[in-house]
Amino acid sequence: MDYFAQQLINGIALGSIYGLIAIGYTMVYGIVGMINFAHGDIFMIGGFIALISFLVLVSIGVTAVPVVLLLVLIVAMATTALYGWTVERIAYRPLRHSFRLAPMLSAIGMSFVLSNFSQVSQGARIKSIAPIITGGYTLFETGGFAVRLSNIQIFIVLTTVALLLAFSWLVGRTRLGRDMRACEQDQTMAALLGVDVDRTISMTFVIGAALASVAGLMYLLYYGVVDFFMGFVAGIKAFTAAVLGGIGSLPGAMLGGLAIGLIETFWAAYFSSEYKDVAAFSILIVVLIFLPTGLLGRPEVEKV
């Protein structure tokens, strides 16, 4: 029971990270209708930017933890958002009316570009930092097994909730959000009614990348490591989360992220940690076979 509670906490923290990445996938899929394969690598870039800006800030004498975190968050979000914008501008926009496979393949190419760019520029070795947010609470203790809730887990969940609230306000209440929803339904009609489709799609990538960079920062804080290859697996898992929740649905992405985080954590805890990725990928396959629209997705009607 205690073990279970501990794994539940760990799973929710991990699931929050997956959920934030999944939002980027689900938004882009909803509007442009493509799997942004490079999104996992945007997450990785976000982690790297956070790491580097953290190092630089500490070395110039900024040591107060809240100030550092805030500055790192801002730098990482801004820079990674620009990465998202650039990727869309270079690799996806020229292909918008190309044939079906073109954006997908271009995205795979972009994914290689990003991961190998960071390998070339920052080296192939895993970078690790000492924990920044330390401490935590012991919730309850029975038979020598303490269920702990660490401050970093609280930070992750609170940040995720705050970002989700801000994000739902953005989509539901602002002009940009309305444009995004309009583009999702019908790009041509939205353009006819004065929505700047190009700009809206760009903004979608920018927001998705910013959220992914926060996920990258949280991954860095939680595990203390980044490496150039982490975007690939995290990207597939986050995509699995988006599919599980119903692609195109924002609450679904978060729900799917939590589900994947929990499943992976429990699998690693009770079965084998080597095969935890297999568990996540198998879920992707099973969900697509039995529940192609996901938990909260709308069924897609094929018109002839």
Binding site: I35, L55, T79, P94, S106, I108, N116, F117, I236, E274
Partner: protein, 441 residues
């Protein structure tokens, strides 16, 4: 200003020098922000294990400068060429010329391929490279059945390559079976796995299919990596038997092929034998594909690629059609895998990463999806291009990624190929098949 609207539309806005400069400055500014931290600061674990960093502002300045100059050049080219949309459709005359050329090119290339070991007998490097290229030609042709003909986007093709390689490695090292018995077994096992993948994904389309096949490929790789007792885990399987010329070993011993033929032994014999083996296997793949295209099942694949709903409405069994495509594509992947295992003598999960799948898919797409000649030439171009970057290993995948993006922007339909159905009406339709939107299959 009689026709203001036509004025603004017909004449492109004058791209003066100020305009070009402004755009270049914006690009450079963006590059500066993008690269400031990733290039300008280099992190590495210091001597005590704590992460340290040093700055590389010289590299950063050079890169930003390169973006600035490059952007000016691109803008200048654009201004001089004007806003021309590159004609995607090749003119008919050129196309006829090309097809005439193709008629001679295919036999010429074939003769050249057969003669490679004769011409380059002394250059071991070229022989090895040709074997590698032919392996990818075969993989490309195998995947072409799934992607090019049936239109099913498969990102996990390397899984079948792995199944073939491990089948041969395990069967030969455990049971001592010979290559010629294992080769068909490897193909059958891979085809079986192709069916295993194909069955659950029957209902999936497009991007979903792509991501599931990718997940399948990763599952296979992770299982190979972790099933220590069977596959040796990350250490792989070594000591895989070399192929024999139908039972006669290619060794220096008294019962070796060289001794029996009464010629002096040379290690190149085995390379030449491997070369002809993979050439034969690749040509078998090609021959099977060409023949299958003329059979009802091949027609059904192409129909499925064009429009699945119409296919079903016409009474084509899409289940059988998809499964045969997966199984046959996988079977040829399995043959190639068995060949790979016997050539290397050592295999490990590292050889079967997602990058391999992406490379083979890039070959198929570059070759024009469906064109046999195109796939072969694309394999030569891709692997040749990779070899050019042999000295700069870490930049190899970076350049590959950039090439993939640029290729999709400039020639999304591949360098040579155009998606022509095998059967078409003698009278040209008002709307040709390559003008309409591709069906989602």
């Amino acid at each position: 200003m009689a026709h203001p609207s036509s004025d603004t539309h017909s004449a492109a806005p004058p791209h003066g020098f100020a305009f070009i400069l402004r755009r270049a400055l914006i690009s450079a500014a963006i590059a500066l922000v993008l690269f400031a931290l990733m290039i300008g600061v280099r992190t590495e674990a210091g001597p005590t294990g704590v992460l340290i960093y040093w700055t590389r502002f010289g590299d950063l300045a050079a890169l930003v400068g390169a973006v600035f100059v490059g952007s000016i050049i691109v803008e200048l080219i654009r201004t001089f060429l004007g806003p021309v949309e590159i004609a995607r459709r090749v003119p008919d005359g050129l196309r006829n010329g090309l097809s005439a050329l193709r008629r001679f090119a295919v036999p010429a290339l074939l003769v050249f391929a057969v003669l490679i070991p004769v011409i380059f007998y002394q250059q071991r490097y070229i022989l090895d490279l040709s074997i590698l290229v032919l392996t990818y030609v075969m993989l490309g042709w195998g995947l072409n059945i799934v992607v090019g003909l049936a239109g099913l986007l498969d990102l996990g093709y390397v899984a079948f390559y792995a199944v073939g390689a491990y089948s041969y490695a395990l069967l030969s090292t455990t049971f001592g079976l010979s290559f010629w018995i294992c080769l068909p077994l490897a193909g059958i096992l891979a085809a079986f796995w192709g069916m295993m993948l194909g069955f659950p994904v029957l209902r999936l389309k497009g991007d979903y299919l792509a991501i599931v096949t990718l997940a399948f490929g990763e599952i296979i790789r992770i299982v190979l990596l972790n099933w220590q007792s069977l596959t040796g885990g990350p250490n792989g399987i070594s000591g895989i038997p070399r192929p024999t010329a139908f039972g006669i070993p290619l060794t220096a011993g008294p019962d070796g092929l060289a001794a029996r033929l009464g010629i002096p032994f040379s290690p190149t014999h085995r390379i030449v034998f491997l070369f002809y083996l993979i050439l034969a296997l690749a040509l078998l793949t090609n021959w099977a594909t060409i023949r299958l295209r003329r059979l009802p099942i091949g027609r059904a694949w192409e129909a499925l690629r064009e429009d699945e709903v119409a296919c079903r409405a016409l009474g084509i069994n899409t289940v059988v059609t998809k499964l045969t495509a997966f199984a046959l594509g996988a079977m040829f992947g399995g043959f190639a895998g068995a060949f790979f295992a016997t050539r290397q003598g050592f295999i490990s999960p590292e050889s079967f990463s997602f990058q391999e799948s992406a490379l083979v898919l890039a070959i198929v797409v570059l070759g024009g999806m469906g064109s046999q000649l195109g796939v072969a030439l694309a394999a030569v171009a891709m692997i040749g291009g990779f070899e050019l970057f042999r000295g700069f290993d870490q930049y190899r995948m970076l350049v590959f990624g950039v090439a993939m993006v640029l290729l999709m922007i400039w020639r999304p339909r591949g360098l040579i190929g155009h998606r022509a159905p095998s059967v078409y009406l003698a009278r040209r339709d008002a709307i040709a098949a390559d003008l309409v939107k591709e069906g989602h299959g």
